[in-house]
């Protein structure tokens, strides 16, 4: 059984007991424990189940690379799935549940999959579930959804009660990783005077050194670590942060750091996570190395663990995973585990060393302790169900014939170490295969390069392939100094600390144990524990032609789980390269992508949530709308009233009331959101002639003209009324959503094409409040306010005038988007609300009715006016909409003119704008397609048009619509069929003129 030792555990505080629950069961641990060490201390080895076969899984590792021990943390709004028990710091009251089991962790129905594994080979998703098609929907998918999935996402309706924030940091040298190499690199760079940030993902400093032993400058590693950390903390130019992971390295020295502030102490105030957005001139990654599992049959049975992890649990937490541990290895480092266990008084029945000649000094030390060492041997298979019970020892060189069964409850395995090269690789750093040490390490000659073309990432310590304490600390010193120098500082001529550790004999690569393992054994030798990928799966993929490592990854799902193959990557590559008979470097690695380990969505969002996620733009009259029943509609970053709902009134009724009141008497619209761009200068007229399809240079001062804007592709992009203010000044109105875009569009052409033209543009949208006063009584209201002549004679349709109304400075445009007598009045923004209040008050005698965007839309549709975004969708040219009158024939050029001459644009079969009226007066579904005879190659009905706008018109008491129809204008009176949302039901509609209301325009021109 796994248990807590009576003494020991350098990281725990036995005076502080911490109560927690796992699957509802109560447990006890100590301050300083991880959830994994506390569970092991209470004999809870089983921590999860695998993804595909639901096999029982115990903890394998002791850090971020853990693939198995994934748990749900917390409840309700604070629920979090897929937390690694090995990096979850224990606190009093922690509540965790296991994942991926049904109905319980101990008894899982899906585990039957393991007996079906013959039928669930590599690529099974692709092979098994394609045919017959109906089975996918009704059988396979429901079964997979029920039994698969890691963890459960929080309820989408709940809101995360925690807060998050972003930090920005700008440094000369960023050091990622606080092991001895990282500490020394930070020290060396800091001593040179560079501004240094040192971040470490764990709560503790020093990496593996305190567990692995040796000495630094004559001290125990732990003492040197404390001393160096204190020195760094005392330096004003150095910042150190623990519990902060380097998540990703990006272009030009950009790095994301992920700091966990309160996960270990939920009672603390402040943000839970912090995302660091760092710019560094130089980045040193000192991210260490990860031990590799060995591939032997039964290597996923709970109790089979990484040798280094077993050692960590004993030394750091005073916890032993079992009573009898067999160590299996191809290198010297794993002997340290046997020695640590022996020192703790535990049984080590054997060290099984796959190397024919065994190891060096560490092997001798083990033998001196009386531990049995078997060289040239391997494990043929592990026996056990939910717990290891014994191993079958065999010759490594053979095919797995058992030499001896050795009873044990833990197998501590080591297949060697792989440098953590993720951060080096994120931004393009290349790797080289180190034959001697059998791993990929960073190739310093092919580093990520920055804006100046020079390398901006370097790697230190075991992440750089410098294994062992002495080499690691030397490398840290050298790399730290070099980084400071690259960042423009002069490193001091200090000596690197001198470290001593045992010499290690060379490792011998072992990619399969035993070397000639039979098919049965290979089918039980796991590569990827979380996704259940075995040696046999990768071999099958190779046989089936998946030669590219990226394809094999996706076909087998190797390395695609939440751990992203931290343990399985190299073993999988080696298995593939053996199957393909190619060298490992020829097969290459898959791509390393950020983040290094998952980071929370909350951290990515930071402060941007709720009201500050996207600040809302408000017109000067916004508050009035808010207190008067506005039913809001988002338009760009604005909120506009869709309608103003009265008590007991439906939205539909409100819209109809607003339209009727406006058409009968008087309506008011807050049009402040419309874009207002001032274009000024000696060449402004010439410029606008290029921007608009119409002629704007000839517009007389005092007049307005409706204009169309196209892109150089010929497609409509915006429209609006242009007013000429004086000899060299025009005011261009744009759509609400288009103001910034169109201003940018104008500036782009001015700055990059016609930079010699003397034109100045200003986006004055927010400088004015603009209110449309609409309806037969509009003029009466303005005359009542007084101050300027708004008569038909002085201010006819499509003209504007400056003056005052009710004492407020006003610019009055006689323009109409409703077909009624209409004035749009711009006043300074800070007078907007006062002017609105005045209009409401003085207009009361004519039942002045504020109306929203829906009434505006219906009224414009009744008049057959197009709307950018309804009648246009980025593929529509003015000719499609019958707007030929707005295309100047006198102008040689305007944006889009040449494109509109292309053959597809002049095709007479382009769908054209018409009006549509259903035979029964009902409303056509927006976007519905008009059916044509026959079917296309995909068996779908052919089409001959579609609805672009569709409304109920209260004015006409029937449905009205606009649409684009094949040869539509030539087919007036013809009845065509539209298909409803169900894809079958037809609605018949007559093709009519798009102008449904007041076709002569008598009402607006009074």
């Amino acid at each position: 059984m796994s248990t807590r030792l009576a003494t020991g555990g350098r990281l725990i505080d036995r005076s502080k007991a911490q109560a927690f629950t796992f699957n509802g069961k109560r447990f006890k641990g100590y301050a300083g424990d991880t959830l994994a060490s506390a569970l092991l201390g209470e004999d809870q080895m089983l921590m999860g189940r695998s993804f595909k076969y639901h096999r029982p899984r115990g903890v394998v590792a002791s850090g971020a690379e853990e693939p198995n021990a994934l748990v749900n943390l917390g409840k309700g709004t604070a629920h979090e799935p897929n937390a690694r028990a090995t990096t979850t710091e224990l606190f009093d009251g922690l509540a965790a549940t296991s994942q991926n089991h049904w109905p319980s962790l101990e008894f899982d129905v899906g585990a039957v999959n393991t007996h079906l594994s013959r039928f669930l080979p590599a690529g099974f998703y692709y092979k098994m579930f394609i045919h017959p098609r109906p089975l996918w929907k009704h059988v396979y998918e429901p079964f997979i959804r029920q039994s698969a999935g890691l963890g459960r996402a929080p309820d989408p309706e709940t809101r995360d009660p925690d807060t998050y924030e972003h930090f920005y940091a700008f440094v000369d040298v960023l050091v990622i990783g606080g092991g001895v190499a990282g500490l020394q690199a930070a020290k060396a760079a800091g001593d040179a005077g560079a501004k240094v940030l040192l971040i470490e993902q764990n709560a503790h400093w020093g990496g593996r050194a305190p567990v692995d032993g040796g000495s630094i400058d004559g001290q125990a590693p732990e003492a040197w670590i404390d001393e160096t950390l204190s020195a760094l903390q005392a330096m004003p130019n150095v910042t150190v942060r623990s519990r902060t992971m380097g998540a990703g390295v990006y272009d030009h020295g950009y790095v994301l750091g992920y700091e966990r502030l309160t996960d270990h102490a939920p009672q603390m105030d402040g943000p839970r996570h912090r995302l660091w957005r760092i710019r560094a001139a130089q980045i040193v990654t000192a991210t260490g190395a990860i031990e590799r599992p060995l591939s032997f049959a039964g290597n996923d049975i709970p109790g089979v663990m990484l040798a280094s992890a077993v050692r960590d649990y004993v030394v750091n937490y005073g916890v032993v995973p079992g009573d009898r541990t067999v160590v299996v290895t191809n290198n010297d480092d794993a002997y340290r585990t046997a020695l640590a266990l022996k020192a703790a008084g535990l049984a080590v029945p054997a060290i099984i060393d796959a190397r024919p000649n065994g190891g060096g000094a560490l092997m001798q030390a083990a033998r001196d302790q009386g531990i049995r060492v078997e060289v040239g041997r391997g494990i043929a298979k592990v026996k056990g169900g939910k717990r290891v019970s014994s191993v079958y020892m065999c010759d490594q060189a053979g095919s797995g014939a058992m030499l001896e069964e050795i009873p044990c409850d833990v197998v501590a395995m080591s297949g060697g170490w792989s440098p953590v090269v993720h951060l080096w690789s994120h931004c393009g750093g290349k790797l080289t295969w180190d034959d001697e040490q059998a791993f990929f390490r960073p190739d310093a000659d092919r580093a990520p390069t920055g804006a100046d073309g020079a390398a901006f990432v370097s790697v230190a310590g075991s992440a750089n392939g410098h294994m062992g304490l002495a080499q690691g600390i030397l490398d840290g010193d050298a790399v730290g100094k070099a980084a400071a120098k690259m960042a423009g500082f002069k490193p001091k001529r200090t000596k690197a600390p001198e470290a001593v550790s045992e010499d290690e004999a060379a490792l011998v690569p072992v990619w399969l144990m035993p070397q000639g393992a039979s098919r049965d054994l290979r089918a039980k030798a796991w590569l990827d524990y979380q996704n259940d990928v075995k040696v046999s799966d990768v071999q099958l993929a190779a046989r089936e032609g998946f030669e590219s490592v990226e394809h094999t990854k996706r076909y087998t799902t190797l390395g695609m789980a939440t751990d992203q193959g931290k343990l399985s990557n190299i073993n999988g590559l080696a298995t593939l390269s053996n199957a393909l008979n190619e060298a490992i470097p020829q097969v290459g690695t898959t791509t390393f992508r950020p983040p290094y380990t998952p980071i929370s969505m909350g951290a990515i969002g930071g402060e941007a949530r709720g009201d500050v996620f996207q600040p809302i733009r408000r017109t000067p009259i916004h508050e009035w709308h808010e207190t008067n029943g506005a039913h809001w509609e988002p338009v760009g970053h604005w909120r506009r009233p869709y309608c103003f709902q009265r008590a007991g009134e439906s939205v539909h009724d409100a819209v109809n009331r607003e339209i009727k009141a406006t058409r009968d008497s008087l309506g008011l619209l807050d049009a402040s959101t419309l874009g207002k761009i001032i274009v000024k200068g000696p060449d402004a007229g010439r410029f606008l002639d290029m921007m608009y399809t119409n002629m704007m240079s000839t517009l007389p001062i005092g007049k307005c003209r409706y204009g169309l804007m196209c892109t150089e592709n010929g497609f409509l992009t915006d429209d609006g009324v242009v007013a000429r203010l004086d000899e060299d000044t025009w005011l261009c109105h744009t759509t609400t959503g288009g103001a910034d875009r169109i201003h940018g569009h104008m500036e782009e052409w001015l700055q990059t094409e016609w930079w010699d033209w003397k034109v100045w543009t200003v986006n004055a949208t927010e400088q004015y409040a603009q209110i449309a006063v609409v309806g037969p009584n509009a003029r009466k209201l303005l005359e009542k306010l007084g101050g300027m002549d708004v008569s038909k004679e002085t201010l006819p349709f499509m003209q504007w005038a400056d003056g005052t109304l009710g004492g407020i400075q006003a610019r009055v445009f006689r323009i109409s988007f409703s077909g009624e007598l209409s004035y749009e009045i711009a006043v300074p923004a800070n007078q907007g609300r006062a002017f609105w209040d005045m209009l409401m008050e003085q207009g009361a005698e004519w039942n002045a009715t504020p109306y929203g965007t829906e009434a505006l839309h219906v009224m414009r549709a009744e008049k057959g006016f197009i709307m950018i975004g309804d009648e246009t969708d980025g593929t529509i040219i003015p000719q499609d909409l019958g707007l030929h009158w707005a295309l100047s024939k006198k102008k040689e050029d305007y944006l889009g003119k040449r494109a509109q001459q292309r053959s597809h644009m002049t095709d007479p079969n382009r769908w054209q704008l018409v009006g549509l009226e259903t035979l029964d007066g009902s409303v056509l579904p927006d976007g519905a397609y008009a059916a044509a005879d026959g079917t296309n190659d995909n068996g779908q009905r052919n089409t001959q048009g579609r609805v672009t706008s569709s409304y109920y018109s209260p004015t006409l008491d029937k449905g009205i619509a606009m649409g684009l129809v094949l040869n539509g204008p030539d087919r007036m009176g013809e009845v065509i069929s539209f298909i409803k949302e169900d894809g079958e039901t037809e609605m018949k509609a007559t093709i009519v003129s798009p102008v449904f209301y007041d076709p002569e325009g008598e009402k607006q021109n009074v």
Binding site: Y250, D251, H252, Y254, R279, G428, T449, G450, A451, D452, G453, E712, N713, G744, E747, E748, Q751, T752, E753, W755, E892, D893, K897, R898, A899, Q901, R902
Partner: protein, 109 residues
């Protein structure tokens, strides 16, 4: 996230401040041009692995468009310069000749 120097306001701007505007130094073809010329102007773009000239706008800054010469492969930036020119200026070409001898782009060398 790239950092480019805005030649107008003189600051190093991060990519979040910038708006990418595609290929630089396009020659506009309008009415009267041949179908081939117009197609080339509207649609055909360089897609080099190496030296490239691009338009960028300091959108969340001074609002000005400028040009950048950079390497799409290594992300090295050779320099930024005014948008108001039809070809890369001499000083940029000098840098390129030194850093990327034998570079070509469209018909430029």
């Amino acid at each position: 996230m790239l950092i480019l120097h805005c030649p107008y306001c003189g600051i190093d701007a991060e990519e979040t401040e910038l708006h990418a505007g595609g290929e630089a130094h396009l020659t506009r073809f309008g009415p009267g041009s041949s179908d081939d010329d117009f197609e080339g102007y509207l649609f055909m773009r360089e897609n080099p692995r190496g030296v490239h000239f691009e338009r960028w706008r300091h959108a969340n800054g001074c609002g000005k468009w400028f040009h950048a010469a950079r390497c799409t492969n290594t992300l090295e930036v050779f320099g930024t310069y005014s948008a108001q020119t039809t070809e890369p200026p001499e000083e940029i070409r000098k840098i390129l000749a030194k850093k990327r001898p034998g570079w070509t782009w469209r018909d430029l060398k």
